[in-house]
Structures are given as structure tokens and as C-alpha cells.
Symmetry: C2
Subunit: 220 residues, 2 copies
């Protein structure tokens, strides 16, 4: 079985993406990042998800992006609630987050001798983050093939984003088909001190919309 390094946040999308890639026949190495996120509770979910997926290894790396700031997820900026979704990029955008995450995934993949990298990026039911768009992922792939020894030697990195053009409802339907246990996941950007979701941030709203469209209860 070919191996693949998948980014695992502990959220709904990355779990579903990982399950879909596993179903495609990949042996999974899961990477989670402790980046100073206010919803650090998602890393507990990531561990549970990694176990449920039966990954070969789950690596957690830490890099404190709160030192960099510039986002409601890493700095003392309020997370917007019941926001109207429009073309703007909200303050929950974390500067260069997916680029940092994919770079770390690339480092690990190259060290493992792996050229396949997975990410749960979605460019449909999402907050408009630029680093979730197909053109960004293609540019990262092109850069990765120039950045690395593996690339120079003619191996080609491939970024797999199986959810890229799916609605949240389609993602959930696909996950349920694959036997994904959504009870294990955490999506909220701004949970209370017990880890309970706020139900009003973008992530909670999109999740609720997805489950409503599928017509099933969110098991969390």
C-alpha cells in the first residue's frame, strides 16, 4: 500500500478526507499541529480520530503562531458570531496557516520517502480562506517539487484534497458512507472551557448547515 501524510485537525473535514484517502488504499501517517490555536481542544479530537482511522503513526508538531498573531484564532481578537458569509476573508483567517502546515507535512513526507500528502481543504462551504483554493494547492505542489531532494530526483509530490469541491452536506454523506464517527470530532473555533462548541462561529454554523441538509443529527 502506498503511504500518505495527512493533516489531521480533529475536525469534521480532515477526518473525512483521511477516511476517503484510506478508502483509496493509502496507508496513513497523520500530522497534527499545536499552533497556539484557541481551540486547542481539537488536538484531543485529533488523537481520537487518528486512533479510529488506525493510522500507522500520529505525529504532533508544535509551532506557536500566536507569536505571529494576526488572527482571531491565535490572538486576542474576538471570533465573529453568526457572521453573514460574503466575499471577505474573516478575522479567523490565520496568516499562511495551510502553508506552514503543508510545509511541515512536506518535511515529514520527504523524510519518510512519501510523496502523497492529504488535506481536508474545501472551497465551497468554507470561510473564504485563500489557502483552501484549488489554485493555491496546485501552486504549493509545484513549489514542493522544486523545494525538495525528492522533487529534484524526479519523484512528484501530490497534494490530495478529496473534499475540495464538495458541499458540507456531501462531505458528511461521504463520511457516513465511510463509517466516520463524527462523535470524535471537534469543529468549534471558540469553545467554552469545557470544550463545548459555541454554535455561532463560522465553523459551527457550517457544520450545523451540513448536518441539517443531510437530515441527520450531529452526534456531538
Amino acid at each position: 500500500m502506498p503511504s500518505l501524510v495527512v493533516l489531521l485537525s480533529g475536525g469534521l473535514d480532515s477526518y473525512t478526507a483521511a477516511a476517503a484517502l484510506k478508502a483509496e488504499g493509502f496507508d496513513l501517517y497523520a500530522l497534527s499541529v499545536r499552533y497556539g490555536q484557541r481551540h486547542v481542544v481539537e488536538l484531543d479530537a485529533a488523537r481520537a480520530v487518528a486512533e479510529a482511522l488506525g493510522v500507522r503513526r500520529h505525529l504532533e508538531l508544535a509551532v506557536d503562531l500566536s507569536k505571529v498573531g494576526g488572527s482571531a484564532l491565535t490572538a486576542d481578537i474576538e471570533v465573529p458570531k453568526d457572521r453573514v458569509f460574503d466575499a471577505s476573508i474573516p478575522v479567523t483567517y490565520v496568516p499562511a496557516r495551510n502553508t506552514v502546515f503543508l510545509s511541515l507535512a512536506l518535511a515529514w513526507a520527504e523524510s519518510l520517502g512519501v510523496v502523497d500528502i492529504g488535506i481536508g481543504a474545501n472551497a465551497l462551504d468554507y470561510s473564504g480562506y485563500p489557502d483552501c483554493r484549488p489554485e493555491y494547492l496546485r501552486a504549493f505542489e509545484a513549489m514542493a517539487n522544486l523545494a525538495t531532494k525528492a522533487g529534484v530526483e524526479g519523484r512528484r509530490f501530490h497534494i490530495h484534497a478529496p473534499l475540495l469541491t464538495m458541499t458540507k452536506a456531501e462531505i458528511i454523506r461521504r463520511g457516513l458512507e465511510l463509517g466516520v464517527d463524527y462523535r470524535l470530532t471537534h469543529s468549534c473555533y471558540d469553545p467554552d472551557s469545557s470544550g463545548r462548541p459555541c454554535l455561532h462561529c463560522d465553523s459551527c454554523v457550517l457544520r450545523a448547515k451540513g448536518f441539517a441538509e443531510v437530515g441527520v443529527c450531529d452526534p456531538t
Copy 2:
């Protein structure tokens, strides 16, 4: 004065690059990375260099690439000594290191509202690392402009690599003209426990060659 985030390792190249960019009129924000490097002593040098440069701020971020491994600089692999330079990429290559570093620089730059990023990459008197080549830096730039809110809003990131096509001797000559104090720098990949250079790794050999060509003594 426009601001620029410059990667500062504590070595000869990044100090010279930063000094050259300062001379071009940039106000410097210096970023150093504690990545599990065996020559972590370079970070002491980076602090001294940042002070000598009079940077506006010096940020040190930590991300432990020794968990990823795959390099003589981060794993228990011997650093080659008195190596014959050829077309191969040596074991001191750290998978995706410059991509991780530039991603962190990009995150900080975007948070600061800065679009200029500096790096001391050199593709002439170097170890053949793929992530020091012009085509890689151009691909990173293209990716950065798709990755970020700043890019979407029409601001363009620019990666400045003023040493890219210079020989080590040319770099040192330029640095001496700029008043760079090379006593502050650390280049060796494999220093002893007191931080003294081995004089036989690629980095020591290239440094010695450079000073010899210039015809001055290395002040360290």
C-alpha cells in the same frame, strides 16, 4: 522606510543578506528558527547579529524538525567531513527546511502587513540544496501570493535573495564593505560542545574558501 522580514540563522550569509537589504533601505524584522538543529549555538549568533543590525524586532520560533528527521543536521546521522562537492545533495539537506522557514516568515510578514521577505540563499558556493535555487524561490513567491489574504487583495509578496548568484568570496567582500562583523557569526554544522567549528563540514569548508579567496583572515 518599507519593512522586510529577514530569515537570520546566525551564519555568514544571512547576516550579509540582511545587511545588504538594510542598505537598500529596508527596516528589518529578523526571524530565527530553533528547529532541532545540532548547531543550535547558531541562535546565540543570530541574537548578536540581530542586535548589530539594529533590527526592529527579533523573533525566534521553535518547531522541532528532529521529530521529522531525515537529515544529518536534525537526526543521528554523521555530518560528512571534507566532502568532495559534486552534483549530489548531501545528508545535511534538511527536508523542506527553507519552505518551513519561508512559510513562517510569510505568516509573520502578513501579520505585520509586510510583503517583503529576505533570505540569504545562495546557489553558487553551496551544498546543492534544492531550496536555495532561483526557480524554487520564484515558485515560493507565486504560491505565497495565492496563499494569503494579502495576495488576494492584490499586494504582492517578494522574496529577496541578494546573495543568490554570488560566490562566497563576493559575499564576504560585500559584507566587509557593508561593515558586517563576521566575528559574531557561526557557520559550522557540527561544532564541539564549546561551539567551536569543526573546520571540515561543508559550511566550514565553504567559509574558509571564501575568506581565502578574499585574502583576509576569518575573524572567528
